[in-house]
Subunit: 375 residues, 2 copies
């Protein structure tokens, strides 16, 4: 059982999940602090738990999807509960839900409660690819369809309030396995930083009668010098005040509150743009670790006119240092205008639709399933 504890001074809940130390390779990272590029679980002795044929190494799937050209007994994208969850599943909740925020301490200074939510892994390919830039576009689109379906499910679960899909790619971005995957976390509380952002978007809507992000987008498209690429429905841009060098946000041009509102055609277009942008980052910074986070409309009651979903790509090129830890004020060494110019050089101009020739071609056959582990 995990627990969450409240840091009153910082106004933050912190999740304590000692079970996550048991994840393959993470324990070693904690003990030896060495950069682990190769997951020991993909050595000859032990197969990667995410590869086709290792399904018994993960909990049962909550969703599988298949591309049109996949053989019937194969899956293309597979979603499973995280074997080492940060949040306890709602059915395992032990406290009395009537208590709201049960404190296991008699003292209000040390407030804690059990975690409650969902934690899933989206396994993005049956074979051992490391980046979704290595997948055909229709396969990549299926990953985003899986996000939609699981977000729709979690939106229906009683008392869930916050859900986010995120990807950790590379050791420096917090990944413990190299096989391409992303995660979905859902919680029964709103992290204070998320709540703050929601309050601000509502405040902007109330004051201006418009969505804040729509207003930003209009200006960005007018000025143009922070745009990396755009398609009919989406734009990829380097945000004006990003905390990390070469950060890119991908947004729908027309207001959409929940990511689940995207049509299947739009998902295909989005997948292309994400693949192109990640490839541009990979070409600009070979071997760069990165995270991406998909922020969709709040799960509980909220004005859909206020929230505009976005996918943020966060390359992990610099280390967060003491000043940032002390102040939450970041020092970025690359202006977004320069980052956008650098990345745009690597993006084909004839958007929408990916230049397949530019996308690295993955050898995604069973025979070569582990060839990339020593990359």
């Amino acid at each position: 059982m995990n627990e969450m504890r409240y840091d009153w001074l910082g106004d933050r809940w912190v999740i304590f999940a000692p079970n996550r130390l048991l994840r393959p390779d993470n324990y070693q990272a904690l003990t030896h602090r060495r950069s682990i590029q190769v997951n020991p679980a993909t050595s000859d002795q032990q197969r990667c738990p995410f590869c086709l044929g290792s399904e018994d190494q993960t909990p049962s799937a909550t969703l599988t999807l298949q591309t049109a050209n996949e053989t019937p007994d194969h899956w293309s994208v597979r979603v499973v509960p995280n074997k080492f969850p940060a949040f306890d599943a709602p059915e395992e909740f032990c406290f009395n839900p009537q208590q709201g925020c049960p404190s296991a301490s008699s003292n209000a200074l040390f407030m804690r409660k059990q975690t409650r939510g969902g934690h899933e892994v989206i396994i993005e390919a049956p074979f051992h690819v490391q980046s979704i830039t290595q997948l055909p576009n229709d396969h990549a689109a299926l990953i985003f369809e899986a996000y939609q379906q699981r977000l729709t499910y979690w939106r229906s679960v009683h008392s869930m309030r916050y859900a986010v899909v995120f990807k950790n790619n590379g050791s420096d971005a917090g990944a413990s396995l190299v096989h391409a995957h992303s995660q979905l976390i859902c919680t029964d509380f709103l992290p204070s930083d998320v709540l703050k952002t929601q309050k601000r978007t509502l405040e902007y809507l109330k004051t201006h009668g418009r969505c804040y992000v729509c207003d930003i987008l209009r200006e960005e498209l007018l000025v143009g010098h922070r745009i990396v690429s755009e398609t009919e429905s989406f734009v990829a841009l380097c945000p004006f005040a990003s905390r990390l060098p070469y950060s890119v946000s991908i947004l729908p041009k027309q207001h959409q509150s929940a990511f689940e509102e995207c049509s299947l055609n739009q998902l295909q277009e989005l997948a292309s743009l994400v693949q192109q942008t990640l490839l541009a980052i990979e070409l600009q910074h070979p071997d760069a670790a990165y995270n991406y986070v998909l922020q969709t409309a709040p799960l509980d009651a909220h004005d859909p006119a206020a929230f505009h979903w976005r996918l943020k790509i966060l390359p992990r090129l610099i280390k967060v240092a003491g000043f940032e830890w002390s102040s939450d004020c970041y020092i970025n060494t690359v202006l977004p205008e320069k980052a956008a110019k650098d990345l745009a050089r690597h993006v084909p101009t004839s958007t929408p639709g990916p230049k397949v020739s530019l996308l690295a071609q993955a050898s995604i056959s069973p025979k070569s399933s582990h060839i990339q582990e020593s990359k």
Copy 2:
């Protein structure tokens, strides 16, 4: 000239300092994202800019301090302006200060202004040591005396509002040079996270008539299971809701608002406790990178009864991943009670005062000034 830009949605100012890309080794880290343990500047071809004899490689000192047994022409601790500052010095400020927050954009959505503040480096030893655990206690105490003197100076500079001393030790903690050093940053604005914390301490004082940290300390000393070590004046403990595994906060037992209130005797005691705690972390996690941050009372008007200074040690054993970037909600894999128990094993029991036998003895003579660079 650097600039800061306002992320309205996140309510954060972000500092843009492209000049910091010119720091030795940082550019390489950004391009190749490889773990750099050895600073190229300490190779045979080029001397470390922080070593005795390389004073011409840094700006002129703003402070030098000497231990009693140092030869007259030597310094023991040397403070210099950062050669690659994140903040422009007050005298270089170009905007009209009357404007308060000058926007270089005609659009309020894209607010920016010039940075203004101080950025100094505290070079902690004349010889090439990598950790203050390698220094004799009287030398370590001098480092904290330097912090006091420079904080006192910056407190006197007109319109400065926030100052913090921090240490980045190891590549994963954001260090670009291995020679033991820390930094002081001073700004003319309060980062929003700092402002929030200040508001909360004032709120607690108003409601309870007592300092929040004093109340926490009383409980922690009573329960005892998160205490790592204590001396007559200070306590080292693993905070109840720390974001990172094995975090330790060091606090004065009696309420002190500003770090500058510490007596010279207390500085000696504090230096011992910091050395012991860092050594315990080094023994528990060999080669662990870490940051520490010294948070003192706000520079502008504030109730001294509300703020309690602290030194936070933040080992960088795990990587911040996508969920944390999206929500500012951290997943910690080690309970503070376990961390305190693990670290306490490495701390001598006969406090106060360091067990010199337990402190690694540094060979801090000119002859061996570079022996540790290949560690």
